[in-house]
């Protein structure tokens, strides 16, 4: 194992988390907590895979994944924005629903070979030693889309008018409402955007990073990790990118520990008894918890934190306005 392979694999794996995390940041910034990322992601993974298989066109597959994730998220939107249901429970329901739908419609997809995302090397950047092969060579296209998404989201949130409105409806919806910003419509929009990105994350797995359909194991909890990363990132897209790629790399790097017979000159216990690998498999989940603890600490130091209206239904015209 060497650093370049770990970084390369980490960036690819991290892209999945990046899409899901940035999507959830947009949703939560608007004041809606959507815990259904895992379900939307799995549904997107299934939809992307099967649409690519059915149409023979991978881009239609990606589109199907995005729309599937988005469509499912609208169910959450309706229930939480209009019916003012508890956002936690609705998000859990969405996880069940998405997983169930994905498994029902994904019946028989295992072992199929649809067209996959093409790999791409960036002409000049790809040639730089070390940096090139680590970050700019032989990635599926969506990895580069991820690169562009980070500054775009950052700029959108902090430097544009719609981004300003997004921050306002998540912090103080009544303030936005009184100056004519349509809180309900925007919240739907960002719930949908979050769903689309979660669906895209799913397609990134099945059509790019680790192709194939392995039913519920396809996502194996990455949707939940993404929600943890949102807190770690303190609702900031740049921090989210750092977290996602770091997580992707750690995830890969740790799994690669199992390969070599010796580590730093010592006998690798993992090589001798592969059962110790179960502890390695735990690490992403344990690391998520650690990331949460670190995120909470960072929040205490700086004036960061969750959008003030996160999880609170906005009811217009409530007496006492």
């Amino acid at each position: 194992m060497n650093l370049v392979t770990i970084l390369h694999a980490g960036m690819a794996t991290g892209t999945v988390l990046l899409f899901a995390t940035i999507g959830e940041i947009l949703t939560e910034r608007s004041g809606i907590l959507n815990l259904g990322v895992e379900g939307m992601m799995l549904l997107g993974a299934m939809a992307g895979f099967s649409a690519s298989l059915a149409t023979g066109n991978v881009w239609l597959g990606v589109l199907a994944a995005v729309l599937a994730g988005g469509a499912l998220s609208l169910a959450h939107g309706l229930v939480t924005i209009h019916f003012q249901a508890d956002q936690v429970v609705s998000g859990l329901a969405l996880t069940f629903l998405g997983t169930g739908l994905a498994l029902v419609f994904g019946e028989g997809l295992t072992g199929q070979n649809p067209p996959l995302l093409p790999d791409l090397t960036i002409p000049l950047l790809g040639q730089i030693p070390f940096i090139g092969p680590s970050f700019f060579a032989d990635f599926n296209v969506l990895v580069y889309v991820g690169y562009l998404l980070i500054p775009a989201t950052w700029y959108y949130i902090y430097k544009t008018r719609p981004g300003m409105h997004l921050r306002a409806i998540g912090e103080k919806p009544e303030a936005a409402d009184t100056v004519g910003v349509n809180v309900y419509r925007l919240r739907y929009l960002y719930v949908f955007a979050g769903g689309c990105l979660a669906g895209l994350a799913g397609a990134t797995i099945t059509l790019g990073v680790s192709p194939g359909w392995y039913s519920a194991q396809t996502t194996s909890g990455q949707g939940w990790i993404a929600i943890g990363l949102v807190i770690f990132a303190q609702w900031d897209p740049v921090r989210a990118a750092v977290g996602s790629y770091l997580f992707g790399a750690l995830r890969r790097g740790i799994l690669d520990l199992q390969g070599p017979a010796t580590l730093l000159g010592f006998v690798n216990p993992l090589y001798i008894n592969s059962n110790w690998g179960f502890f390695l498999k735990m690490t992403p989940y344990l690391l998520t918890i650690i990331a949460l603890i670190l995120g909470a600490r960072a929040a205490k130091k700086k004036r960061l934190g969750a959008p003030a209206a996160l999880g609170v239904p906005y009811i217009r015209g409530e007496r006492g306005l």
């Binding site: 815990l35 379900g39 169910a75 309706l78 229930v79 209009h82 019916f83 003012q84 249901a85 508890d86 936690v88 429970v89 609705s90 859990l92 329901a93 969405l94 996880t95 069940f96 629903l97 998405g98 997983t99 169930g100 739908l101 994905a102 498994l103 029902v104 419609f105 994904g106 019946e107 309900y184 419509r185 039913s215 194996s220 909890g221 939940w224 990790i225 929600i227 943890g228 807190i231 008894n273 059962n275 110790w276 179960f278 502890f279 498999k281 735990m282 989940y285 344990l286 998520t288 918890i289 949460l292 603890i293 909470a296 217009r316």
Partner: protein, 387 residues
């Protein structure tokens, strides 16, 4: 839109039967939607539906199997009920279930008591260990939440995965039964008594040929119990229903749980120790889920193995919510879902039971809006927003 949906806030309380009817309606609608979806993927909803019914409630034998499935669900449903009452989102009942199963297994795997120890001793010790295992596993996220304000939803969920890998390590590495992914079968002293165990003495009685005895036994229908796998775990479940009900509705601690759940600021103001209560509730919630794990391995599987739970921990969330956090209502809801899981095992596609669960939960929380608002459809000329 030709129609406009308007919400009007209800002023008066709805009649007592209203929430019940609405919940029932929500379940029916979920079944209908799932049926339509099944049709879409080329299934036969009516055949499947009929199969669901006969496979879960068709006769006493399958109903006994349904109750066997309902047993862990009752306990896990209670675990979620306790936590949700305090608005503590423990969605780690699955992991606590595994932790409980693991800890209980230690009694016979280490072993702590010899295989020929009296059944009462072994079972009691396993139940205690199961509860301790689950409690420890609930304590971790509870402590993180109480002390560092770490979101318990994510920690409990992450710990679910950890628990499963932890179990696998021991099953594969230490206590593997001849290389299989399971431990050896537990000694009989670690089996919870089942109804079918009492069928043998019954047969002996029948062989006496004494018409008075055989006639009596036939009359009360005891021959049916042969083959019934219903085990003592269901009694654990029912006892815990009463215990949890007493805690929540009659005890001082239950009042504190509800007060913290309704308004933590007010609870703090009233002098309650919120940090301690969060940890305690997570411990109790974890212990209940751990007991479910113990009941499952001692009552059904009789060994520790992979996949001892088809997602009981998650179904428990739905059960608690559907039962509106009422411990007694957990029983019928758990039986319904027990049937669903039992019949769902043999149904293709395999995700159908999960899909149905998702729909039911969605419909239930959506239908709550009908308790708070009156919905009216009115005709409009111009397209209007629905606000």
């Amino acid at each position: 839109m030709p129609f406009r949906l308007t919400f009007t806030k209800r002023i008066e309380d709805v009649p007592r039967w209203y929430p019940f009817v609405i919940s029932l309606g929500a379940i029916v609608i979920s079944f209908v939607i799932s049926g339509i979806l099944l049709k879409l993927v080329g299934g036969e909803p009516l055949v499947v539906g009929k199969y669901f019914y006969t496979a879960a409630f068709g006769n006493w034998a399958v109903f006994s199997d349904t109750l066997v499935k309902a047993t862990p669900l009752i306990l896990v449903g209670l675990a979620c009920t306790v936590a949700f009452k305090m608005k503590l989102w423990n969605i780690g009942a699955e992991g606590q279930f595994y932790a409980g199963a693991f800890a209980a297994s230690l009694v016979v795997l280490i072993p702590i008591v010899p295989p020929d120890a009296p059944r009462f001793v072994t079972i009691t010790l396993m139940a205690v260990m199961g509860m301790i295992g689950g409690a420890i596993y609930g304590f971790i996220p509870g402590y993180l939440r109480a002390k560092f304000e770490i979101n318990e939803i994510i920690t409990t969920l992450m710990l679910n995965y950890v628990a499963i890998f932890w179990n696998n390590f021991w099953i594969f590495n230490k206590w593997s039964d001849a290389g299989f992914q399971m431990t050896p079968t537990f000694p009989k002293s670690a089996w919870l008594p089942r109804l079918t165990d009492y069928a043998r003495p019954y047969k002996t009685f029948m062989e006496t040929g004494n018409p008075a005895i055989t006639g009596f036994l036939k009359n009360i229908g005891l021959e049916r119990i042969s083959g019934m796998t219903l085990h003592l775990g269901v009694v654990f479940g029912l006892v815990m229903v009463v215990v949890v009900w007493w805690i929540l509705e009659r005890s001082r601690w239950g009042y504190e749980i509800k007060l913290i759940g309704d308004n933590p600021h007010a609870a703090h103001y009233a002098g309650l120790n919120i940090v301690r209560n969060i940890v305690l509730v997570m411990i109790v919630s974890g212990a209940l889920a751990g007991l479910a794990g113990m009941s499952e391995i001692t009552g059904v599987v009789h060994r520790l193995q992979e996949r001892i739970s088809p997602g009981y921990g998650f179904t428990g969330i739905i059960i608690a919510w559907l039962a509106k956090l009422n411990p007694f209502a957990v029983i019928p809801v758990a039986i319904l879902f027990g049937g669903l899981i039992l019949a769902g095992r043999e149904i293709q596609p395999s995700g159908l039971a999960m899909l149905l669960q998702g729909f039911i939960l969605f419909m239930i929380i959506s239908s709550d809006v009908l308790l708070r608002y009156k919905l009216e459809f009115t005709r409009t000329r111009t397209s209007g927003e629905t606000v």
